[in-house]
């Protein structure tokens, strides 16, 4: 049963990580038109520590995408320089949507694993009950 328990913990850590990934995606999408905004990315890493389940995952530290910010031509913008350009955000909505969809799929996979583990442990208990 300890296998079930630790596997449940690992699946829950996967769901938690994907939820946080979706949080960064939503921040990026919300700030797609913010001048000077750099998109946030968080690479996943293995969870370490005395009470961490082996194999659990967690989102790493947030880093900012260092790609060049696009120069947007808008002379009426309050942040425009002498040539009428200002620095926009380097958020690509297509990339963010793909990332969100990937997070959703991965979350679903973790959820299925969680559900299956529960079903398996319940079946095992049923066997004990007979």
């Amino acid at each position: 049963m300890t296998d079930f328990s630790s596997a449940l913990g690992v699946a829950a850590s996967g769901m938690r990580s994907q939820a946080q990934r979706l949080q960064h995606v939503s921040e990026n999408i919300a700030n797609a038109d913010t001048p000077g905004y750099r998109r946030k990315v968080a690479a996943f890493e293995a969870e370490r520590g005395p009470d961490a389940a082996p194999g659990a995952v967690r989102p790493g530290p947030v880093s900012l995408d260092q790609r060049d910010l696009p120069r947007v031509f808008d002379p009426g913008h309050p942040m425009a320089d002498d040539s009428g350009h200002y620095l926009g955000s380097n958020v690509d909505l297509v990339v963010e949507l793909a990332d969100a969809r990937e997070a959703q799929r991965s979350y679903e996979a973790n959820l299925r694993v969680f559900d299956q583990l529960r079903q398996m442990s319940t079946s095992l208990n049923e066997l004990l009950r007979r």
Binding site: M1, T2, F4, S5, S6, L8, G9, A12, S13, M15, R16, A19, D51, A53, F114, R118, S121, T122, N125, L128, R129
Partner: protein, 96 residues
């Protein structure tokens, strides 16, 4: 959050191995008491997580995890209790 060691089944497996290998070791009563205490610990953990989730302190994943583990532990404990009571009644039914 580490509740995997406090699951009843783990304690039960431990108890079984102890009973089968060293019959003169730990008495069964103590082993069962330890198992029940670990189940109670899992229950308390689940309740604490539920309280924290209701007050906004914990994320729902921890709540679901704690509740699933509590369910597992309680199911196992109830099953084992039923079997023990059944065996006891079987002994009581013995013609003397």
């Amino acid at each position: 959050m580490d509740v995997r060691n406090s699951l009843a089944a783990g304690a039960y497996a431990q108890a079984r191995s102890q009973i089968s290998t060293t019959p003169t070791g730990q008495p069964a009563g103590e082993v069962f008491a330890a198992a029940v205490q670990s189940v109670a610990g899992t229950l308390q953990e689940g309740e604490a997580q539920a309280r924290a989730a209701m007050t906004g302190g914990a994320d729902p994943h921890s709540l679901v995890l704690a509740l699933a583990q509590t369910e597992l532990a309680v199911e196992t404990a109830v099953t084992i209790r039923d079997r023990v009571v059944e065996a006891y009644q079987e002994i009581l039914r013995m013609p003397v």
